[in-house]
Each structure stands twice: as structure tokens, then as C-alpha cells.
């Protein structure tokens, strides 16, 4: 099988530097704890973060913050719902990257940068929040059951799942996953907060979450728009047809037909 390449490059050191340089110009995503119910500061922090991104800077990601907790949860969610072929291909590298704080921060910065343009004018508002730890335990349990069912649950992988679960619970602690519904692409944003040393920080973001974890099935319209949206890099992209091929459906020499 021939495959085409549209590999994305991970965040670079320059991008991380940009984060820090720009950071002083942004309001940051920190909210002091208030007397309101615990969930409210998380939702406010999430909205502040998205507004910061909307304002057009990458400085919304706090440098030096520990992003491994979100990265661990994100890996568990991926193992529970991601494509088996993707997991088989990328899991070893993803777990290696997980051990590198620069890479976990870089992954978050990359996701923010990818959607920064789209978020401007997306009109996002928080609609729900859930404790991160409940999500961590559920995702870990689901990942374990799923990988066992698919015959992928070797001892090393089960141990990795347990390690990720413990790490995510430890680092996210009293953090929350906040769902924001947006009027426009990307339609959903999920922001993860973490409380460290009395300060609330945003440590992760994604635009997709399975319904069983508080997300939903995108509508047909939303799917259409997202597949054409700039963050995924697919719109307007054309791949060369094999020279001499019949057409894109029959990619072999016309002489063979």
C-alpha cells in the first residue's frame, strides 16, 4: 500500500520561546480560588484561557507548568477511544515523549497554536465541568478493558496504563475538565485545569471528547466544516495523482485496465 504524507511537525523550541516572550503581554490563565463552588473557578479559568487565545497570542500557556497530568489523561483517553492502527503505530513514541516535560508542554502549545486562529470569533462559552480524577479512572478502566478485548493488553501496556492513571490523578488532583460549546469551528473545546500551590492553571486542551466522557457526536454540519477547517490542514490540499494512472479511484497505469 502506498501512503501519502502530510505529517505534522511537533512544536519547536522556537515556538516554546515564543510562548514565553508573548507571555508577559497576556493576562494569563490564572484565577484565584474564590468562595464559589469549586467548579466555578475552573469554568472561569477555562473561559479566561480561551479568551486569551482568542486575543491572538500563544502566551496563554504558562511556561514551566507541569503538563504531564493532562498528557497522561489524554493518553488514557486515546487508548480508550483512539484508532487501533494509530495506537499500534504511535504509542511507543508517544509514551517516550510523555516522559519529557518539554515535549508534553510542546504538545499542549502545538494544540493551542493549531486552533488559535479558529478560536477567534468561535464564540465559546463553558457549559459543563467535571472533576478530572473521575475521568482519569474511567478512561483507565475503559482502556484496560478495550485493549484486552483487542488482544493488545500485554503486561507492559497494562503497567503503563496504571502508571498513567496514577500520574494523572496525582498531577491533576482537584483539576477539572471544562467543556466549552462554540458557535463556530471547532464547535467544542475541552480545557483541563489543575490546582497547584493554590493557583489554578490551564494545563491542557483538546477539541474532541467521546460522548461517554462528556463529549458528544458532532453534527453532520460540524463534521463537514471541521474537515475543511484550517487547523486540520486538509482544506484545499491536493495530492498528486500517480502519473499515468486511470484516475484517483484507480491509481494504477491506464495501460493495465
Amino acid at each position: 500500500m502506498s501512503s501519502h504524507h502530510h505529517r505534522r511537525h511537533g512544536p519547536t523550541a522556537a515556538a516554546l520561546l515564543l510562548v514565553v516572550l508573548a507571555g508577559t503581554g497576556c493576562g494569563r490563565n490564572r484565577v484565584l480560588p474564590s468562595a464559589l463552588p469549586d467548579v466555578e473557578p475552573s469554568r472561569r479559568a477555562a473561559e479566561s484561557f480561551v479568551h486569551c487565545v482568542e486575543a491572538g497570542t500563544s502566551g496563554c500557556v504558562t511556561p514551566g507548568e507541569d503538563h504531564a497530568g493532562w498528557d497522561a489523561l489524554h493518553l488514557l483517553l486515546w487508548l480508550a477511544t483512539g484508532s487501533p492502527v494509530g495506537i499500534l503505530e504511535a504509542l511507543p513514541q508517544q509514551l517516550t515523549d510523555h516522559g519529557n516535560p518539554l515535549r508534553t508542554q510542546g504538545a499542549f502549545v502545538g494544540e493551542v497554536e493549531r486552533y488559535a486562529q479558529a478560536l477567534r470569533g468561535a464564540e465559546c462559552d463553558s457549559t459543563a465541568s467535571q472533576p478530572a480524577t473521575a475521568l482519569v479512572d474511567r478512561a483507565a478502566a475503559d482502556a484496560r478493558v478495550r485493549l484486552e478485548r483487542l488482544g493488545m493488553a500485554r503486561a507492559g501496556l497494562l503497567r503503563a496504563i496504571e502508571d498513567l492513571r496514577v500520574e494523572a490523578n496525582t498531577l491533576l488532583g482537584s483539576g477539572h475538565l471544562v467543556r466549552l460549546d462554540c458557535s463556530y469551528d471547532p464547535f467544542r473545546v475541552y480545557v483541563v485545569t489543575s490546582m497547584r500551590d493554590g493557583r489554578l492553571s490551564v494545563v491542557g486542551m483538546t477539541t474532541v471528547l467521546a460522548p461517554e466522557y462528556g463529549g458528544d457526536h458532532p453534527s453532520r454540519r460540524d463534521v463537514d466544516i471541521r474537515l475543511q477547517s484550517a487547523p486540520l490542514g486538509l482544506a484545499g490540499k491536493s495530492l498528486p495523482i500517480v502519473e499515468g494512472a486511470v484516475d484517483e479511484w484507480l491509481p494504477f497505469p491506464v495501460e493495465e485496465l
Binding site: R114, V208, L232
Partner: protein, 288 residues
């Protein structure tokens, strides 16, 4: 902290060697050794198919190694994208009668929508995990599934994929060799129109319960060979091959009542002479 201090701190951090992987993930000191024990793609498909269909339900034949890709399972009552159930069937048939214009009315809208959502998930996964969107789709179909459902699914999968249609393989159960694959292409939803100068023959086999008809899109071929069994078909195709030794492709046009197992028997019968197998739902194939 001043901007300069932040800059220095950052440059210092960037100059440091990458931190060691989390100790918890490298207890044995060699993280990669742990993950080398991941199973192969074929084993994963086998596990899933064994649970939802039973391997004995797959069409049996020898074939090629199973290449990794997105995998879809078509049972008699359900459709799965990987291990996620995305549609229901009634005795192998699609109940939805609303056709999707995106696939030239060759697939139901509900199936098109379901697969398009799967492609979106794969596209997002590709950005987050620095991998490619699969360009190969492996279909495990129940042997008694009507070919019309297989074709409708293939058109839904192909027309909803961003960028270009994927390549396809049908999963076969090969006695003593595990799962194997039969690669195939599909004719575009609008058919195919080529000029005679394209040097194409356009050999095709129409196939029903009791009839086999071999013809070609090239008007110069100008004949229809008819047979009733695969032995006769093989003889016909050997004769065609002698006249057109450079041709490798053959278009199979199965009747709606044909099952996947019968289609695989046909594939096996033709592939010795014409290994590039193309499926068609009956669209026009013209050479003008």
C-alpha cells in the same frame, strides 16, 4: 520576572538535555522493550473479528498479508469502525433508504455521515499524534453479507474520506495462515470515461447466481462471452489474457443478490490472470 530573565531561563531550559522518561514508565530501564511486545495489526483484527463475527464467518481463501489501516467490520446486523459500532443492518441489508448525494447515491446518507465522522476523528488523531490519516481500509465482512452492502459501505468510506479515496482490502480467513487480504479498488461513483487513445480495454465480468458474462468497454472488443461456472470463466480469461498480455485489471460487477463469499470465489477465479481487482456497482465504463 523581567522579560530578560524569562528569556534566559527559557534558553537555559532549552539547552538542557531532554529529561529522562518518567521512571514509572521505564521500570525495566528500557521503555521500548515494553512496547515491542505490542501485537501486530493482523492480531488486533483477528481479536475483534473473533468476538463480533467469528472467524468462521469470514470468506475463506488464500490472499496477501494484511496491511495496517483503518478497519471496518460488516456483520449481518451491525457495522463497526474499528471496534466502535456505528450502524445497524437488517439481515445484512441497510435499512436507510435516503441516499447520500456525495457518493452518487451509491450509499445511504446515514452510513456516509457515520464514516465521515470517523474520518474526522482520524484526522484529529493524526494532528495530535503526529501520524498520517490511514490511506488503507481493511474490511472484514461476513461471508453471507450481500455484496450490495459491501459496495455501499465502500462508497460511503471512500467518498467521505478527505483528500482522496483510500485503498481497500477484504479480509479472508486462510486455513492455517490466519487472516489474509484481497486488495481491491472501486470505480468512481460517476463511472469512468476514457478515450480509445488511452489504450484501455476495460475488461469486466458481470456476475449473478447463474450467469457470468465477460465483456469489455473497448468497442473494438465487441463480444460478450458467457459461462455458468468458474472453470469456464478461467478458460475465457486465459484466452483474453493471451490477446491482451499487458492487461492486469478486471472490473467485477456483481448482481445485488451475490454474497461476499461468492464475490471472493469470483475474485479467486479471476486474479490469476487479472490480479488488479476493481469492483463496480454498475456505473458506466466507457471508451469513446
Amino acid at each position: 520576572m523581567s522579560l530578560l530573565a524569562v528569556l534566559i531561563a527559557t534558553l537555559t531550559a532549552l539547552a538542557e538535555p531532554p529529561a529522562a522518561p518518567s521512571p514509572s514508565l521505564v521500570d525495566d530501564g528500557a521503555p521500548m522493550q515494553t512496547f515491542e511486545r505490542l501485537p501486530g495489526f493482523s492480531a488486533v483484527v483477528l481479536s475483534h473479528v473473533s468476538i463480533v463475527l467469528g472467524v468462521e464467518a469470514l470468506p475463506g481463501a488464500n490472499g496477501f498479508p494484511l496491511e495496517p489501516g483503518a478497519f471496518v467490520t460488516l456483520g449481518l446486523d451491525r457495522v463497526w469502525a474499528a471496534d466502535r459500532e456505528i450502524a445497524t443492518l437488517v439481515e445484512g441489508r441497510i435499512a436507510d433508504t435516503v441516499a447520500a448525494p456525495e457518493c452518487g447515491d451509491l450509499c445511504p446518507a446515514s452510513l456516509f455521515d457515520a464514516f465521515q465522522a470517523e474520518w474526522l476523528a482520524l484526522a484529529i488523531e493524526a494532528t495530535q499524534r503526529t501520524i498520517e490519516i490511514p490511506s488503507n481500509v481493511v474490511i472484514a465482512a461476513h461471508g453471507r453479507l450481500p455484496v450490495s452492502t459491501l459496495l455501499a459501505s465502500a462508497y460511503a468510506i471512500a467518498t467521505s474520506r478527505p483528500l482522496r479515496p483510500p485503498s481497500f482490502s477484504l479480509v479472508l480467513s486462510s486455513s492455517g495462515r490466519g487472516l489474509r487480504a484481497q486488495p481491491f479498488h472501486i470505480v468512481g461513483p460517476r463511472g469512468l470515461r476514457l478515450s480509445q487513445g488511452a489504450a484501455a480495454l476495460g475488461l469486466r465480468v458481470r456476475f449473478g447466481k447463474d450467469r457470468i458474462a465477460v465483456s469489455a468497454a473497448d468497442p473494438r472488443y465487441n463480444r460478450t462471452l458467457r459461462g455458468r461456472d468458474f472453470t469456464g470463466l478461467r478458460t475465457m480469461l486465459r484466452d483474453v489474457k493471451k490477446r491482451y498480455p499487458g492487461k492486469q485489471a478486471i472490473v467485477l460487477v456483481p448482481d445485488a443478490g451475490v454474497t461476499v463469499a461468492e464475490l471472493v470465489d469470483l475474485m479467486v477465479a479471476v486474479r490469476a490472470e487479472f490480479p488488479r481487482i476493481v469492483l463496480s456497482a454498475g456505473q458506466n465504463l466507457r471508451l469513446d
